[in-house]
């Protein structure tokens, strides 16, 4: 099963963000979406879990079209999808253990002991075992992102969505997060979509990279293909040369 976005249009007031955005993510692959700030990458990602509804177009996840779902149907899909937020979005009033275990509490028949064991296992994967009793305000930004990843994988989802998982982190922590993303894919066999600005990170973790430009996918291909792409818009972005973007615009 895969993720499919077909001809998505989305506007906020007069600001048209997505203008016919289409993308297919194949089963088991990690696809990175890159693009300048404000081009609608996070908006596209939020459509996949129904946090935003398209003005026009279709979103298919795991063979189900989200447009026809009621709230309960949407929750069924969300149980199959883990979402790692840009700033982790951990609940301030809950400990790390409670944060990671929150999604597990929605699974019927799961005992408190089973939840505790699963939380411990997830925290071990992200190398935060021992941090169970701390609150989000008591750990660093990188640790918060890792805790956010632990929360996303706790329910063993088939899909993982990462919204700028390495933004604002130092190079060492960025590499640690990248390795966690790769390890998660290898161990859990998840299908993943990663929003990022960091091209080095995208080359490391992605099977394919899509570049979002002016509301649509401008380029889609492997890391090797994007590096060889002659399109000046793509080159301007990946090489950090605004003059090439201006030339094309």
């Amino acid at each position: 099963m895969s993720i499919l976005l077909k001809d998505i249009h989305k506007a906020f007031g007069s600001n048209r963000v997505l203008k016919g955005f289409s993308l297919e993510v194949h089963e088991g692959e990690t696809l990175a979406i890159v693009g300048q700030s404000g081009t609608g990458k996070s908006v596209a990602l939020k459509h996949i879990v129904g946090l935003l509804r398209p003005d026009r177009g279709e979103v298919w996840v795991d063979g189900v079209e989200l447009g026809g779902l009621d709230q309960e149907g949407l929750y069924e899909i969300r149980r199959k999808v883990g979402y790692v937020f840009q700033f982790a979005a951990l609940f301030d009033s809950l400990t790390i253990e409670e944060n990671v275990g929150l999604g597990l509490r929605r699974i019927r028949g799961m005992t408190s002991d089973a939840i505790r064991d699963r939380v411990k296992e997830c925290l071990r994967v992200v190398e935060l075992d021992g941090f169970q009793g701390r609150f989000p305000s008591q750990i660093s930004g990188g640790q918060r992102k890792r805790a956010g990843l632990a929360r996303a994988i706790a329910t063993q989802p088939g899909y993982l969505l990462y919204d700028e998982p390495t933004t604002g982190l130092d190079p060492v922590t960025t590499t640690i997060i990248d390795r966690l993303i790769i390890r998660t894919r290898e161990e859990l066999k998840v299908t993943a979509v990663v929003i990022t600005h960091d091209m080095a990170s995208a080359y490391r973790i992605a099977d394919r990279i899509g570049m979002l430009y002016e509301g649509t996918i401008r380029f889609l291909g492997t890391p090797a293909e994007i590096q060889a792409c002659p399109d000046s818009v793509v080159r301007g972005f990946i090489e950090g040369k605004p003059e090439l973007l201006e030339e094309a615009g």
Binding site: Q71, R78, F85, A89, L90, F91, L102, G103
Partner: protein
């Protein structure tokens, strides 16, 4: 051109009225969602106790503080007004009647619109702008069931209790003031207190405070939920929650007086 300038205030008033109507509509939408989320006890059930403590028990000190000094001032001002014209035992009647019917519920409501309403709007507003509410949705939680239902229920349950406590303390403060500063005796004060007392007065106060609890918590949740932007948006939502719930409390106060008395 001049006509347009002249018409501008009307345009502004019109736009403001439309905006207010839209806000009321959205609040109604959230209220409807809240009622629909009531059966999801598995989500809000374990959170209710914490909210009962935060919204109710933690509000008791400020409510009692306000009620105590209101009772003292009521007794002193009644004595100042009545001396030489009306028998002094009417101080008990005035303190009791006014505390139960008006000052107990309304002053407590206004104080808690600041303490509880602002707290809820700031907390949910921060959760909104830091994606925590979206995170709840991605974890398959109904955010209305998780965040709004326990707060609104706690408000409905705890406000009447806090108001009854505050009213009792206010009357007791008025009695103590009458004994210590007005040379009145306990039988005199009690005679006045019983003079116009009706059991219905207590029910009236409870109905009022229940509606204030619903108002303050639901308006706080509404402004928190609809927060936009960052810290500035949270500040704006918090201010609006306090101002709007204070205004609605006064409107409800008049409404209940007109319909139930």
């Amino acid at each position: 051109m001049n006509a347009r300038v002249f018409l501008n205030p009307f345009r502004l008033i019109g736009l403001s009225a439309l905006d207010t109507a839209a806000q009321i509509g959205r609040w109604g939408g959230l209220f409807h969602e809240t009622v629909r989320a009531l059966p999801k006890v598995d989500i809000w059930g374990r959170l209710l106790l914490g909210q009962l403590a935060r919204i109710g028990v933690d509000s008791v000190p400020i409510a009692l503080f306000i009620a105590t000094f209101t009772g003292v001032v009521m007794a002193l001002q009644a004595s100042y007004t009545f001396t030489g014209a009306v028998p002094l035992y009417f101080v008990g009647a005035l303190v009791g009647k006014t505390m139960i019917l008006e000052l107990g519920p309304v002053l407590t409501g206004l104080a808690l619109s600041g303490r509880v309403g602002a707290n809820i709007a700031a907390e949910l507003g921060t959760m909104r702008v830091t994606d925590q509410i979206d995170a709840l949705e991605t974890l398959a939680y109904d955010p209305v069931a998780y965040l709004v239902v326990p707060r609104v229920l706690a408000g409905i349950v705890m406000f009447p209790i806090v108001v009854v406590l505050a009213t009792a303390v206010g009357v007791a403060a008025g009695w103590a003031t009458s004994l210590q500063l007005l040379d009145m005796s306990t039988p005199e004060f009690m005679k006045g207190l019983r003079l116009f007392f009706e059991p219905w007065d207590i029910q009236f106060a409870v109905i009022k405070s229940l509606s204030f609890g619903l108002t303050i918590t639901s308006i706080g949740c509404f402004f928190g939920f609809t927060t936009q932007g960052g810290a500035e948006g949270v500040g704006l939502s918090t201010t609006r929650a306090v101002v709007v719930s204070s205004m609605v409390i006064l409107v409800l106060d008049a409404f209940w007086a007109a319909t139930l008395l």
